[in-house]
């Protein structure tokens, strides 16, 4: 038979085969072998092509090449179509769980501290640090704690030797800063502190504080109130109420405690606020003139305020954590919640 006719025949047969193909994903591969395999129908045509007279070759060669390209393309298309219709691949289960990145969690004390610091930095406080092993002078004497005064009982202390101890509050950073810098001074001092007290659900011998100090001419108690009110609203919400009442700290006078209305019961009384409607948040006051004298600042010219709060306790309140010891266990079921 004339080669050209055979070419037409193969083309028609391919057309027919492709139309009859079902859903068998193997079908495309079968057709490829049948037409394009080593002994496939088109390969046979090429073999026969070699023996035709030379003057026919350009014309028939072109037709044959078109057939081959066409066959390849159509079988490829068929193959893709079949693949796409196979139900395993076709089905898109959008409900598969996402592949979550391995994220870590910052400790609730870190997060609370960062929030507190962010608020005070907005109103111009600068963060200062100090060492955990302090001198008795910086921790007590310079802060106007007399040697044998009962005020020292408020802060049971871990001693290292006669002169050194683990700081019981971050207030020695006040002293360090005032010895180093001249007013105006406006600092925030965060850090770990220690008290020799038995560990129980409400208190730990290791905890964290942040302390603020502002010294300048004309710093007033009235402004201290505003500063802390702004903090309370920003931190606990604009609807909390604040209350200031007298307190006692050797390094401030007048000294005050700031309470906020309980944000659980809105001041009605609940277990968290021990049915008082108020939560004790921080201690504050005007810098005692004796402290100024100890660091060489003239108390007649300058006034100042200081405040301090326990971060651990604030975080307990903020997150509704019932046991302070959870902070130190490192239980990831706890940490992952923050």
């Amino acid at each position: 038979m004339d080669l050209l006719n055979r070419i037409d025949e193969v083309r028609a047969q391919l057309q027919n085969d492709i139309q009859q193909v079902g859903a068998d994903p193997q079908a495309a591969e079968n057709l490829r072998i049948k037409y394009l395999g080593k002994k496939g129908l088109i390969s046979v045509l090429f073999a026969d092509f070699n023996s035709i007279p030379a003057e026919q070759k350009p014309q028939i060669g072109r037709v044959l090449n078109i057939l081959k390209k066409d066959a390849e393309a159509r079988i490829q298309a068929l193959s893709e179509k079949l693949k796409a219709t196979s139900s395993q691949d076709e089905f898109f289960d959008y409900s598969l769980p996402g592949l979550t990145p391995a994220v870590g969690h910052l400790h609730p004390i870190t997060q609370t501290l960062n929030r507190v610091i962010a608020i005070f930095r907005e109103i111009g406080f600068v963060v200062e640090f100090g060492p955990e092993v302090e001198t008795d002078y910086n921790n007590f004497q310079a802060l106007n704690f007399a040697d044998d005064h009962p005020a020292r009982d408020m802060q049971d202390t871990f001693f290292i030797d006669e002169k050194r101890l683990l700081r019981t509050h971050t207030s020695p950073i006040q002293i360090r800063t005032m010895l180093k810098k001249k007013p105006p001074i406006r600092i925030l001092a965060p850090g770990r502190v220690y008290r020799n007290e038995a560990i129980n659900p409400r208190s730990h011998c290791v905890f964290h504080q942040v302390e603020g100090l502002y010294v300048d001419e004309n710093v007033t108690f009235s402004e201290l109130k505003t500063t802390l009110e702004v903090f309370a609203w920003r931190f606990f919400g604009a609807d909390v109420k604040t209350r200031f009442r007298p307190g006692f700290f050797p390094f401030t006078e007048p000294s005050a405690e700031m309470d906020i209305s309980c944000f659980i019961c809105a001041g009605k009384g609940c277990r968290l606020c021990k049915y008082t409607g108020w939560l004790e948040i921080l201690g504050c006051g005007m810098v005692d003139p004796n402290v100024f004298k100890n660091v060489g600042i003239d108390p007649e010219k300058y006034t100042g305020y200081a405040f301090g709060m326990g971060i651990d306790r604030t975080a307990l309140l903020k997150y509704g954590i019932g046991d302070i010891r959870l902070y130190f266990d490192g239980d990831v079921r706890f940490l992952e919640q923050f």
Partner: protein, 795 residues
């Protein structure tokens, strides 16, 4: 300090409810909490009278009591020993609710039905007492509610006193504060003593050897008392503030203490030898037996009250057993003194003994009030125990103490508080506090402060009083905040913050571990250090300051393992302390970053295989941190340590940045009972933070395309990949921009002593597109160098 609302009314009038009083006292600095109402929850308990006590037919120890509520009679089975005809007792009928929420059910006890229950104090939630049925007063109204009987408006407040307010350790002191708020008068009870002919001074003389320790010592004798129980009003008054009655004389002294705040001590005069009192310092090592029966060794800081021969009391702290009031005491010597607060405090601390007396003396008693308290004590003892009060007091007060004179400037006050106070109002407050106004003008007022306020020494103390009484909540807040132009930076905090967030972003959760650790934990470390020891630790396992973060972090791993969490990525940023090897006196604090890994790094998931953690995840972390925080030229070298199976030291130049490795199974097993592999790293965070350069400079990315080539070689096992990479870099020239090591193959087709490695090399020029020939030439140089120097074969 507990005060009773009715007791307070003896000294000033006020109409606040107990709740309101607590709130108002809190607002002026006496933080007060109401003690729960005894009557609460007792609304359904009735008062009944026992008409008859019949034996129980089936039980010897039980009785069947017939009781009446006036209208009706009930039969109640009772097991208490103290039931008697005619007694008035609390009755809970079947169906009524007790304070603990229990509802009384109908019950038969040993075959006899009981219509209710006669209650003991513990069942009513009044006390712990279960020794018998609570017996009520004869005048209790039968058929009335027990709640009404108990209530009678009598509430008590617990005041959490700040250490600067000894004046409020008494009812009169608290009443003075109330009077300041109400503007009502304060009345101190008048004293009406009928003195006998014999003078106190005929029986006792006082000699003060230590006038610094004891500026004043006064005493008075009451003769012929009869020791016995206290009258009902006295027992009740003491009970209302949680004090137990002892006997009439001791109770009277206690009452005066709670009324005036001034501690009295009572001696059995018969046991005082030589008719004299001597106040002296103890000798170090001197031993005495206090009236609690304990023998105590004294220091020379302690002040002793002695008679003619021996110590009879530790001054201001506790009496001695040898002279206490006994059942047969007839003559009572009452002491009312003023002791130096510091000496009492030192003694109390030395002895580990705090008493009602020492609590007040160490805060500062009222040196002028000593005589009033003494007179009041004598009057009361004579009233409740009989006896004759001897004429006059012996009052040794060689150098009367003068209370300070203070000038208060109005302008200073206004400037500090930030509001204007009216001078007239300020003066009224000062007078209410007990100050004497010495003189005053438009600018200032000079006062003599009262002897009961040792905390008022300076102008600032009076300013505090002014704002305290005015009400701190009433002080207006400023409308604006002052800002100070600030150019100092606090970027250490920023850096710390960045480091923490970076670790969390890398997948590590943050730990806070205890910095107080055991001796064993301080052995852990990379370099030998001397740990800092506490002189007074809370417990054996919290004696030292940590020298490494890792032991505490392993404890957290153990805690999580116990809760079946085995895949952990943890970090901590915290301080460690140690003495520097060369200087033993100065503890050196450093900030460390610790990281621990165990189990799988990723969560179980459906798409990818999970990665087991290993040391190289930590190495990668160290590299990334170093890059992020600007530490250059990291160097790794092998290190040895007992606590690690494999340990690598990380240096940057001459400085050691830290260590990482796999913890030794031996250590994990023995110390922690952990079998799973744990990988740990500890870095010097101070160093890391010092380097950080938060300011970054942008560099234009290359314009011309890069060319990549793979390099697969086979080398001897012991050749370090790091060394090979170094060689490649050296030979790659400027155009070699990156080397990525991505395949390590051991096994089939590779000799046992060899390993097959594949690197991906990236070449790039800034000024042109590289040709294949150029890159081929560099590759050839690399090949020949590797094969010559490391015997590497191409694959």
């Amino acid at each position: 300090m507990i005060v009773n609302t009715n007791w307070l009314k003896k000294y000033t009038d006020y109409s606040y409810s107990a709740e309101e009083l607590a709130e108002r006292l809190t607002a002026i600095g006496l933080e007060s909490n109401l003690i729960p109402d005894k009557a609460a929850g007792l609304e359904e308990v009735l008062i009944a009278e026992i008409l008859a006590v019949n034996p129980h037919p089936n039980a010897d120890r039980l009785t069947v009591c017939i009781v009446t509520t006036g209208e009706k009679q009930f039969a109640v089975v009772c097991g208490a020993p103290n039931v008697k005809k005619g007694l008035k007792v609390p009755l809970a009928l079947v169906g009524s609710t007790l304070p603990n929420g229990m509802i009384l059910k109908p019950i038969k006890i040993r075959g006899v039905a009981s219509e209710g229950m006669l209650c003991a104090e513990d069942e009513l939630g009044i006390s712990e007492d279960h020794s018998g049925i609570m017996i009520l007063d004869e005048n209790a109204i039968v058929g009335g509610r027990l709640a009404d009987y108990l209530a009678s408006n009598d509430r008590s407040l617990e005041i959490d006193l700040t250490p600067n307010r000894p004046d409020c350790t008494s009812h009169i002191g608290v009443a003075r504060e109330i009077a300041l708020m109400t503007g009502n008068e304060l009345y101190k009870p008048d004293i009406n003593l009928s003195e006998s002919e014999s003078a106190t001074s005929a029986y006792i003389s006082v000699g003060i050897e230590d006038q610094i320790g004891c500026p004043r010592y006064a005493a008075r004798l009451v003769q012929g008392v009869k020791i016995g129980p206290s009258p009902d009003w006295l027992v009740k008054a003491l009970a209302s503030i949680g004090q137990r009655s002892i006997n009439n004389v001791v109770d009277a002294a206690n009452y005066v203490l709670m009324e005036t705040g001034h501690p009295l001590h009572t001696f059995d005069y018969a046991n005082l030898k030589g008719q004299k009192i001597v106040v002296r310092r103890a000798k170090a090592g001197e031993k005495v037996v206090t009236l609690d029966g304990i023998e105590r060794e004294l220091s020379d800081d302690i002040l002793l009250i002695c008679d003619g021969e021996r110590p009879v009391a530790i001054a201001g702290i506790m009496g001695l057993a040898n002279s206490e009031i006994e059942k047969d005491t007839r003559d009572v010597l009452i002491e009312s003194a003023y002791f130096n607060p510091r000496i009492i405090r030192r003694g109390s601390r030395y002895l580990g003994l705090q008493t009602e007396a020492s609590y007040r003396f160490e805060r500062g008693a009222d040196y002028e009030g000593a005589i009033y308290a003494l007179e009041r004590g004598a009057e009361l003892i004579a009233e409740v125990a009989g006896g004759r009060v001897c004429r006059g007091v012996v009052d040794e007060y060689p150098k009367p103490i003068e209370s300070p004179k203070i000038v208060l400037r109005y302008e200073r006050t206004n400037r500090l508080i930030g509001m204007k106070f009216e001078p007239e109002w300020v003066k009224k407050v000062l007078v209410g506090l007990g100050c004497d106004i010495l003189n005053s003008n438009a600018q200032e007022v000079a006062v003599r402060v009262p002897s009961w306020r040792p905390d008022l020494e300076r102008e600032i103390d009076l300013i505090e009083e002014v704002v305290r009484i005015y009400g701190m909540s009433r002080v207006p807040s400023t409308k604006t905040l002052q800002m100070i132009p600030n150019i100092s930076t606090d970027d250490r905090y920023d850096r710390i913050e960045k480091l923490r967030s970076f670790m969390a972003t890398c997948g590590y959760s943050e730990l806070y571990c205890n910095s107080l650790v055991s001796a064993r934990a301080t052995e852990f470390g990379f370099e030998p250090v001397k740990p800092v020891k506490l002189r007074n630790p809370l417990s054996q396992d919290m004696t030292f300051l940590r020298t490494s973060l890792i032991p505490g972090m392993i404890a957290a791993i153990k805690h999580n393992f116990n809760r079946r969490r085995f895949d952990l990525r943890l970090f901590e940023l915290g301080h460690v302390q140690a003495y520097a090897p060369e200087e033993e006196t100065q503890a050196r604090e450093s900030l460390r970053l610790g990281a621990l890994l165990t189990g799988y790094f990723d969560e179980p998931n459906w798409a990818y295989p999970r990665r087991k953690t290993n040391s190289f995840i930590l190495k990668g972390l160290a590299d990334t941190l170093a890059h992020e925080f600007g530490v250059c030229n990291l160097n790794y070298s092998k290190a040895e340590n007992l606590f690690f199976k494999r340990l690598v030291k990380i240096s940057a130049g001459k400085k050691v940045l830290g260590y990482f490795g796999e913890l030794a199974p031996d250590y994990l097993g023995k110390d922690w009972d952990i079998e799973e592999p744990v990988f740990g790293m500890e870095l010097d965070a101070d160093f890391l933070l010092k380097q950080v350069n938060l300011a970054k400079i942008y560099k234009e990315p290359p314009v011309f395309p890069s060319t990549e080539r793979d390099l697969s070689i086979v080398v001897k096992c012991e050749i370090l990949v790091g060394d090979i990479m170094k060689k490649i870099r050296q030979n790659g020239g400027d155009l070699l921009r990156e080397i990525r090591f991505y395949d390590l193959y051991l096994g089939k087709n590779v000799d046992k002593n060899e390993k097959s490695l594949t690197f991906n090399l990236l070449f790039q020029a800034d000024d042109r597109t590289l040709t294949d020939a150029e890159v081929d030439q560099i590759m050839a140089t690399i090949h020949s160098n590797l094969s010559r120097e490391l015997n590497a074969r191409l694959r």
